[in-house]
Amino acid sequence: MKSKGECLAYVSLKNLGIELGGQKIIDQLDLDVEEGEFLVLLGPSGCGKSTLLHSIAGLIDIAAGSIEIAGTDVSHAEPSDRQIGMVFQSYALYPTMTVEKNMSFGLRINGVPKAEIQKRIARVAEMLQLQNLLQRKPAQLSGGQRQRVAIGRALVREARVFLFDEPLSNLDAKLRTELRRELKLLHQNLGSTMLYVTHDQVEAMTLASRIVVMRAGKIQQLGTPTEVYERPANLFVAGFLGAPAMNFIPGKLDTVQNFSSEYLKLALPAYVCATESAHADDVVLGIRPEHLQIQEHGTYSGQLALVEPMGNHQLLWLNMGKQQLCLLDHDNRNFVLGDAVHFDIDTARASLFDAVSGLRL
């Protein structure tokens, strides 16, 4: 085991460029994935995250830069030579083969001895509870079972890196939650390096050891789920993560860190800027709904416009003039529409962004 300080990049992308049909999808991208890490690529559809994963798998040719896996340059290697296992959104099981044959296909091609194949399949089947399904065809399986088989097929390869391309997106909500948990357990038990593409922020938050937020082929932020959630690097990341989304309030910031907008004034003395010299006059204040606390004698107040009950909590939408705010109420109080709701702001957890560049101050 390596100590934490000298963790080497296990998958390393340098200056990567990808073109599809003459269009630059990804340009000059650098990314290092550490060994044993569960790295999630998160972004809206069309941001290039799947393209990036497919290029790591070798299914898309790269136009520039290099890809290294476990210290070997695989920039132009065949997909089968990259020591990867991959799980696809559509499961991509071989429909004419049984579950067992599906899992052993790659091993048989590579001439792995029969006994070894048997051993690996038995182990993986036990891990994923597939023992009773080994002789079935994919058509006889449910969606969740199919995806478990697909995961199993990747696992028996005992690859260096596992790639997941939105593996849970085709499943219904309940199964998705279940399989998400299984995946997390699997990663905990195996400790293998995993790269996971999704547009679902809940999946990203729950699974990732680090999240890469992408937009239009560019990395917006790279950090642990907490970092990305608590200290978003820019307005895009702030707005993309979190449901309901972060409240944005445009306003001015003076030199002693007093924020003022038309409807709300706020002192932020303890705010730690991302860089020391960071300052802007026109700013956007970002506050998550859960950081607005309802208080009977709170400093601020807004007019209740809408209530969304969620069962264990409810969302309150307030109007402060033209400014709309969303806040979370965990106590499911009874409110009447049009009432004034008083609240306080947890200033220590607020974010400030430059209104022009969108970057975090």
């Binding site: 497919h54 091609i109 391309d165």
Partner: protein, 288 residues
């Protein structure tokens, strides 16, 4: 759901009247051929072509199969039948295999210029056979396979290639690319993915392609006549000889029996696999 009850409206009656007339129109020749083939020549001379045979005789069928004269020889069209089998079998298997291979390569491996290649193939489907006849004769003669069994098989495979390729390409377009990607990661090469993964998945399309190719090759006349040579004349060419060889009276009953024998295989295929055949026409809609 409410079950809507079909009412006998005038429009519906009209449709049925039309369909029944159309069916009768197409079935009448077959009916006449069938009844005539079981009549003796004496009975035919009475002239009641719609009448059922008074005394059923199998003699015309026996003659057509084994003693009717096809030119100089008088051995019936049984020889032609086996010739046609010998031509159709390899022509179908080879054309399907190569067509599937082409479709697979064009869909999944997307070689440079795949689109242009496909365009050329499509154009090939529209060029009349007659245009290519003479050049092909020269080519086959140069290769020393003109007027041989391999010669006629090669010709059929060539002419079947555009439609077979398009058929399989359209089928493979419906298979998710991810499946191919998964096989690539598993280490499958060009032929292994084709043989172990794609071909087994193509079974429905293989059936359709086989129906189209078998009926096409079996019914062919002009290519067989030109390229097969005397030794391997297909059944259709033999049938023509039977009917055109007149020594004395024209044996209508024998001619009818020989014609039905020749048409038997495609007919059987249409009847047995009507469902598949319709699907094939729909899939091969490019050809029209």
């Amino acid at each position: 759901m409410l079950k809507t009850r079909r009412k006998w409206t005038p429009a519906r009656l009209g449709i049925y009247a039309f369909l029944l007339t159309a069916a009768a129109f197409f079935l009448l020749p077959l009916y006449i051929m069938l009844v005539t083939s079981f009549k003796s020549m004496d009975e035919i001379r009475l002239g009641n072509i719609f009448a059922l045979p008074m005394h059923i005789t199998m003699e015309p069928w026996r003659q057509a199969w084994s003693t009717a004269c096809t030119g100089v020889a008088c051995e019936g069209i049984s020889g032609g039948f086996w010739n046609s089998v010998a031509i159709t079998l390899p022509s179908t298997v080879l054309a399907i295999f190569l067509g599937a291979l082409n479709g697979y390569a064009l869909t999944f491996w997307r070689p440079r210029g795949a689109q242009i290649l496909l365009g050329i193939l499509l154009a090939g489907a529209f060029i009349p056979v007659q245009v290519m006849m003479f050049p092909l004769v020269r080519v086959l003669a140069t290769l020393n396979i003109f007027s041989t069994l391999p010669g006629i098989v090669v010709v059929h495979v060539i002419f079947g290639m555009p439609i077979m390729t398009l058929l399989f390409r359209n089928y493979y377009l419906g298979i998710p690319q991810e499946l191919f990607h998964a096989a690539r990661i598993d280490g499958g090469g060009f032929f292994r993915i084709f043989v172990q993964l794609m071909l087994p998945m193509s079974l429905p399309m293989i059936v359709v392609a086989a129906i189209m190719q078998v009926t096409g090759v079996w019914n062919d006349y002009i290519l067989g006549l030109v390229f097969a040579g005397r030794e391997h004349l297909p059944m259709t060419a033999q049938l023509n000889n039977v009917i055109n060889t007149t020594t004395g009276t024209r044996m209508y009953n024998v001619n009818m029996a020989a014609t039905i024998l020749t048409a038997l295989l495609p007919l059987a295929i249409y009847f047995i696999s009507g469902r598949w055949f319709v699907r094939g026409i729909a899939a091969g809609a490019v050809k029209g």
